[in-house]
Amino acid sequence: MARFTVQVNGNRLAVESPPDRPLLDVLREDFGLTGTKYGCGEGQCRACTVLVDGQPTASCLTPISSVDGTSVTTIEGLASGDQLTALQQAFIDMDGAQCGYCTAGMIVEATALLKRNRKPSRSEIVDAMNPHLCRCCGYRNILASVELAARRWEASDA
């Protein structure tokens, strides 16, 4: 057991944990942030994606020791109070969720994508999102959601 400190959604949180315990478990079981989902435990579905210092990361494969002192953003940390992000709103508007279990990972991934590429092409979106599984296979509405958010973002910049 050791003590690890992580900045989670802007709050400094500490946990006593075995060093190899997955970040996913710590977020869900110690910090009560259940928005981040387990899907496979092998980084193949990316339902567990969070941002570690801004980088999309599979939290199921990330030992807590490796994120000591970093800043982690989960799905719960995106909206500002009641104000949804453009991506969250677009997922509502374009029916981007069926069961919604993959949605947190999708939105977190797309958030990082739009941060580094404000006007992604469809193929750039597909490339960024392809590691994520949606078993409802709602891929078309998810793509439409990301594209809508990008368009709105662009419009708001203009």
Partner: protein, 709 residues
């Protein structure tokens, strides 16, 4: 719909899974420690309640709709929401008939203590069965409101109208909340519920027939929604369960001490061994230490290699009952075959996994001998029975609550995880959360049945005059041909299945329609006709012809013939669960892989309730079908899965999503049928037929294995 299918519409597929508890517990009485934490139940408030004409005899009158004195209106059904949109459509149905804004309604789903038993959420039954029940209850409530007002104001009911949750007329206003305050106890109101109130006609719909934003979407996109695996109870532990090393292996001995020494609660009860600890990490570590001490007796188990032959050898033609063999025949099949040009072929399909993204999960809590389990199951009342049986409880001592769940696709009919969590919670004396690993979900859930088919037909020019279809193990959905054939014999044999199998999207219809529609292409070739023309020439079902024509028109089928080398187009159609699908697909075969370049679906499920949700269901179903057609196949040997992980079992992803179009044929004159299953049944045969057009290779087994010419 041809009359001959009415019977099948009412019969569940013989592979629809409903089984008893997975364990026979000894239940050491020393386990009893009362758990900590009060119950969650908050009863829906309000006195006025309606349930005219429930779906099931078990529906208590007071369970369908609650009108609160505070103005709240709550609709209750035993259906579950797994992503298919039931919650939103049920809300629309109630809002339409009550004449209230959808925002003013709550929908409570699948809580055995609160909601009526509407059976399982399966077989595409929510739309044709539950929606009408909700509409009737809501219409009756509206009528009671009107009658009450008419009486109070001494006006004729025809002078009154209901809008925005209140009846108005001659300067008066009476809301549902006023009604709730003015009426007596539930029992007296139940007796006064108006019967036979007409439902709102389709042309007058303002809420139904529209695309509504998904109810609960905000909680999903913010991460606030609690799926079954996210439920947290006070003082809760996390569980892990020991699995056999191979199918059929029996536990001979195990030592729990290593797990207990790590601080976990460890329990063995018969074949059940599990741990519970403060974190899932500790539970897994404890279980690993216990697992190392386990001794197993393994048994021989057949491999997936040669599975079709195995199934035919292990057919059970004399199996009777609801899950038994079935044979139907009309006309003189043998005579017609003898007089006609005969064609025959055989087909095979493998086991496939539903692989819902949320694995099975449950949180179980005991309180003074009463059990509450939050779990993702499509059969909440069935799982309550399993729990009651496993723990020897009466039905009212067990409660199952189904939070909106992360996918099912027919794969979550069972309650094994609920039973396991409850056993651990009982041993621990604290609530326990148990979530299966992906590995467990692959190996220990159940599979879409593997199957084999033998088909013969007799042709007389462009007409099929005899049809002889034998299906080994797929299930019975869509087993009867929708084509107009005078002499038909259909046989279904369940087989001794090496793997546990059960419901799936469309279940038996996936295999039955694949075999039939590929064979139809083979027959078209023998008859020398275009595959579309051949189908139309053998159809007397106008709705099936209509979806075929609609898909072909949008696809420009007749212009697509001149595809290049290794590129070709295929068509397939099907009818199941009251709805009709046709798909045209263009593929390109490169090396050993099939790329879908374009796909057009046309779909008719009667009156469209919510076009956006319908489109999402069709598209998701079709893309899910691409996996079963092109990549999915469970392989096993020595009683172990060989590809039980996402890395080894490729599923459709963003990149595998082709350009696709969906044509919705709305039929406001026909009651709505479900839509979440039928689209999948035309995917594999359309692609198989396209591969034939591209390469000349007949695709008689799934997944398709083509090679470029």
């Amino acid at each position: 719909m041809p009359e001959r299918f009415r019977e099948d519409l009412c019969e569940p597929d013989r592979k629809e899974l409903a089984e008893g508890p997975a364990y026979r517990f000894e239940l050491d009485r020393r386990d009893w420690i009362s758990s900590i934490g009060a119950g969650l139940l908050v009863s829906a408030a309000g006195k006025v309640v309606f349930s005219p004409g429930g779906a099931s005899a078990q529906v208590r009158p007071s369970q369908r709709l609650h009108l609160g004195e505070d103005g709240s209106i709550t609709v209750l059904t035993g259906k579950v929401e797994f992503g298919q949109g039931s919650r939103t459509e049920i809300l629309q149905a109630a809002a339409e008939e009550l004449r209230v804004s959808p925002d003013a309604l709550q929908v409570v789903l699948a809580d055995t203590a609160e909601t009526p038993n509407d059976g399982s959420t399966a077989g595409s039954r929510t739309t044709p069965s539950t929606i009408p029940v909700v509409r009737r209850a809501s219409a009756a409530a509206r009528e009671l409101l009107v009658r009450t007002a008419a009486e109070a104001w001494n006006l004729d009911a025809s002078e009154l109208r209901v809008e925005a949750g209140a009846v108005v007329g001659a300067g008066n206003r009476l809301s549902y909340a006023d009604l709730a305050r003015s009426k007596g106890p539930e029992s007296t109101v139940d007796d006064n519920v108006p019967r036979g109130v007409p439902l709102t006609e389709v042309p007058d719909w303002t809420v139904l027939g529209q695309t509504l934003p998904k109810v609960g979407a905000r909680a999903i996109v913010t991460g606030a929604h609690r799926y079954p695996c996210d439920i947290v109870r006070p003082n809760m532990l996390y569980g892990a369960v020991l699995r056999p090393p191979s199918y059929g292996a029996q536990l001979e001995s195990v030592d729990l001490a290593p797990g207990q020494e790590l601080g976990a609660v460890a329990v063995r009860d018969g074949e059940f061994v599990g741990c519970a600890a403060k974190t899932s990490y500790e539970a897994r570590k404890a279980l690993e230490s216990i697992s190392e001490t386990a001794r197993w007796r393994t048994v021989a188990h057949p491999p997936s290699e040669g599975l079709g032959t195995y199934l035919k050898r292990h057919a059970q033609p004399s199996a009777g009952g609801r899950r038994g063999a079935r044979r139907r025949e009309h006309g003189d099949v043998d005579g017609a075959l003898a007089a006609a040009q005969t064609v025959e072929s055989s087909y095979e399909i493998p086991y496939v996994q539903h692989a819902p993204l949320e694995p099975r999960a449950a949180v179980a809590e005991w309180d003074e001998g009463r059990l509450t389990v939050w779990t993702g199951t499509q059969r909440p009342f069935g799982v309550r029975e399993q729990l009651a049986e496993a723990f020897r409880l009466s039905a009212d001592q067990a409660r199952v609550v189904v939070p909106d769940t992360g996918g099912g696709f027919g794969g979550k009919h069972t309650g094994e995880v609920a039973v396991e969590a409850a056993r651990l919670a009982r041993a621990a004396g604290r609530p326990v959360s148990l979530r299966w690993t992906r590995e467990e979900e692959f190996a220990w859930a159940y599979f879409r049945p593997a199957a084999a088919f033998e088909v013969r037909a007799g042709l007389s020019e462009e007409k099929i005059v005899a049809w002889d279809f034998t299906a080994y193990n797929p299930g019975t959905a869509a087993i009867e041909t929708p084509y107009a054939v005078p002499n038909v014999r259909t046989q279904y044999f369940p087989c001794d299945s090496p793997l546990r199998e059960g419901s799936y999207r469309g279940i038996g219809a996936t295999g039955n329609n694949y075999a039939r529609e590929v064979f139809m292409d083979e027959l078209a070739g023998v008859a020398g006709l275009d595959p579309l023309e051949f189908r139309l020439a053998n159809l007397d079902d106008g709705r099936l012809s209509a979806v075929l024509r609609a898909a072909a028109d949008r696809f420009a089928w007749s212009a697509s013939k001149s595809s290049g080398r290794n590129r070709g187009s295929g068509i397939a159609a099907g009818f199941e669960k009251g709805s009709y699908i046709a798909i045209c697909a263009q593929v390109r075969v490169e090396g050993g892989s099939v790329e879908v370049e374009r796909l057009v679906s046309a779909f008719d499920c009667g009156t469209i309730l919510n076009p956006g949700n319908l489109r999402a269901q069709i598209e998701g179903c079709v893309i899910q079908g691409l996996g079963a057609a092109l990549t999915e196949e469970i392989r096993f040997a020595g009683g172990k899965l060989l590809n039980g992980s996402f890395a080894q079992y490729p599923l459709p992803r963003f990149r595998s999503t082709p350009p696709m179009e969906t044509v919705l044929l709305n039929r406001p004159d026909i009651p709505s049928a479900g839509a979440g299953e039928t689209p999948i049944i035309a995917v594999a045969p359309a692609l198989a037929n396209a591969v034939f057009a591209a390469t000349g290779q007949r695709m008689r087994s799934l997944p398709l294995r083509a090679s470029a010419a």
